[in-house]
């Protein structure tokens, strides 16, 4: 099916981050259309029709999320989640750094749609350059009268503020993000109440991923039905995939949902490096269960197919591992990541991730015991679904899939006390 240039249409142009460049390609016309020609409810309806689902990982229908916002007079907020911390994911960075105005337009339209006058972009702390680009872009747009009070002369105020995180993966979780935005520790909150009713400053808040918001202008421009025509029956539209690891051409590619997995790896990303064989793929960021080379045969890149294959589309971060990769070490590295990033609030996640690392480090160092595998698998019973936020479940993804699918490799490590691949 090949690449489909929708979100990434502008990124290769010179000075793509400038307002001028953006306006040349029809920029902010969609905002004008929304502000002047459409009622907020219509926009929500269009988005619902488009079948757009959250691109951050959970895949919750965006239109539905917006419709949860109560129609009251209290202040409402829109938060753009640009805390792209999931290992393997770097798709939002492209939009932020190369086409910030697309994002701003998306935010403006969405804010209008849900009735918010204030929007925040929570960008991860490491993307300092991205934050600067966005701030410059906001300034440009405000000076041009596009954003700010009385946006485009419509009488509707839209204020966008860039908020930098400071290095905490868990802040990608929406309630933790809200806490972080309020200047607190990034601890996820207990749900209910959900952010849609009590979010930022205890007011209704919508939190959307960068990619989701950046798609909104196109839906407004060409209609929900048009967007729904892309992709498959249930997974509609296009999606950015960031592919990394042992492929010849790693990078961000925009594909229609439903593109065969193998096409992405072998054709678009140029195949495995040095002609080696594929061993395993993590299809949607490190928290999704990994798939073996056999399992991805015939699998299409959409929400349903991947779920059927036993994994998730997630944030579309494909990490490709060839035959030289030691799965035990990879699992160990990911467990270490989750142990480092757990917020430390709830017991199963805090203690479970730490224990995982302790056990895996023993196995990697050749001091594993066969009982350890049972203990690791048993963690699913204790952590799975019992944590305050999804981080605990995320930590289980690579662990459980790694042990079940590559058990031989673990057993080999334990029995011989060293890595069969010589790592």
């Amino acid at each position: 099916m090949g690449e489909y240039k929708l979100l990434l249409a502008n990124v290769d142009k010179p000075d793509s981050e400038k307002l001028e460049t953006y306006r040349k390609s029809g920029g902010y016309e969609r905002l004008r259309k929304a502000l002047f020609e459409m009622k907020p409810e219509e926009i929500v309806e269009e988005v619902k029709k488009s079948g757009l689902r959250g691109r951050g990982g959970a895949g919750f229908p965006t239109g539905l999320k917006w419709s949860f916002v109560p129609k009251t007079d209290e202040p409402k907020y829109l938060v753009c989640n640009a805390d792209e911390g999931e290992p393997g994911t770097f798709k939002d960075r492209v939009i932020i750094e190369k086409d910030p105005h697309l994002l701003l337009e998306g935010i403006a339209i969405s804010a209008y749609a849900i009735g918010a006058h204030e929007a925040f972009i929570y960008i991860r702390g490491e993307y300092e350059y991205g934050a600067q680009v966005l701030e410059r872009a906001i300034k440009e747009a405000e000076e041009a009268g596009i954003l700010g009070p009385n946006a485009m002369g419509s009488g509707y105020d839209i204020k966008i503020t860039v908020h930098r995180g400071a290095g905490a993966y868990v802040c990608g979780e929406e309630t933790a993000l809200l806490n972080s935005l309020e200047g607190r520790r990034g601890h996820p909150r207990i749900r209910p109440p959900f952010p849609a009713s009590k979010g930022l400053y205890q007011h209704p808040t919508v939190i959307n991923n960068v990619e989701t918001l950046a798609t909104v202008p196109f839906i407004v421009e060409r209609g929900g039905d048009w967007y729904a025509s892309l992709g498959t029956e249930k997974s509609k539209g296009t999606k950015l995939f960031s592919i990394s690891g042992h492929v010849n051409k790693p990078g961000v590619y925009e594909l229609e949902l439903g593109t065969p997995f193998e096409e992405l790896i072998y054709e678009i990303a140029g195949g495995i490096r040095e002609g080696r064989k594929l061993k395993a793929v993590i299809p949607g960021g490190s928290s999704t269960p990994m798939l073996t080379a056999d399992e991805i045969k015939g699998v299409k890149l959409d929400y349903e197919s991947l779920q059927a294959a036993g994994s998730m589309l997630g944030s579309g971060a494909v990490i490709v591992m060839d035959e030289t990769t030691c799965i035990v070490k990879a699992v160990y590295r990911m467990a270490k990541f989750y142990a480092h990033e757990s917020c430390g609030q709830c017991t199963p996640c805090r203690e479970g991730t730490r224990w995982m690392v302790q056990i895996l480090s023993r196995i990697v160092n050749g001091k594993g015991r066969m009982e350890d595998l049972d203990v690791l698998l048993d963690m699913k019973n204790i952590m799975g679904g019992n944590c305050l936020c999804p981080l605990g479940d995320a930590a289980l993804g690579p662990l459980i899939s790694g042990i079940t699918k590559f058990r031989d490799e673990f057993v080999e490590h334990i029995k011989t006390g060293r890595c069969p691949l010589g790592g």
């Binding site: 290992p87 400071a166 200047g183 790693p250 070490k329």
Partner: protein, 162 residues
């Protein structure tokens, strides 16, 4: 009671920036992270003095500010070198040889991960995903990204900084 803040603690530019940041949000406290960033940008790291000063600024107990600052990995609560080398060792970078890069830097600078060179110039730490998986392995020195690293490239970068 009227609180008196010692404005001299930071430079005027930073003070103005802080004032701007604090006026941006519906709730003043939201600016805490941004103010911590701003003060760290000026001072290099956040010591107890800085924490206390910020606490007074926000009318919060210092313990609360310290608690927030210590939650986020980007705030240095101890002195770091002039160049803070942050090498990503997460999965994508790892399978592309980040560990070799770390070992190479350790050897070159003669320090271990988490240490600072005796001349106070370099501090080496490993970090989680920098969002540069497509150009792995990657590292960040202060605020700049360096991607697609090889030992030779690292040598060149470090030499240019010396």
């Amino acid at each position: 009671m009227r609180a008196v803040i010692d404005k001299e603690f930071v430079s005027e530019a930073t003070w103005n920036k802080i004032q701007d940041l604090m006026s941006r949000y519906p709730d003043r406290r939201s600016a805490l992270l941004q103010v911590l960033h701003a003060v760290q940008d000026e001072k290099g790291y956040l010591d107890m003095e800085a924490i206390k000063w910020i606490a007074k600024l926000f009318k919060l107990p210092p313990a609360e500010v310290y608690s927030v600052a210590s939650f986020y990995t980007m705030f240095n609560l101890k002195k770091v070198g002039k160049y803070l080398i942050q090498v990503c060792t997460n999965i994508s970078c790892m399978i592309n040889g980040a560990e070799d890069i770390v070992r190479h830097i350790e050897k070159k600078l003669g320090i271990k991960v988490g240490e600072t060179t005796p001349d106070g110039k370099f501090t080496l730490i490993t970090v989680e995903c920098l969002g540069s998986c497509g150009k792995a392995p990657a590292m960040m020195i202060n605020k700049d990204y360096y991607e697609n690293l090889t030992p030779e490239k690292v040598d060149a970068i470090l030499d240019s900084l010396k």
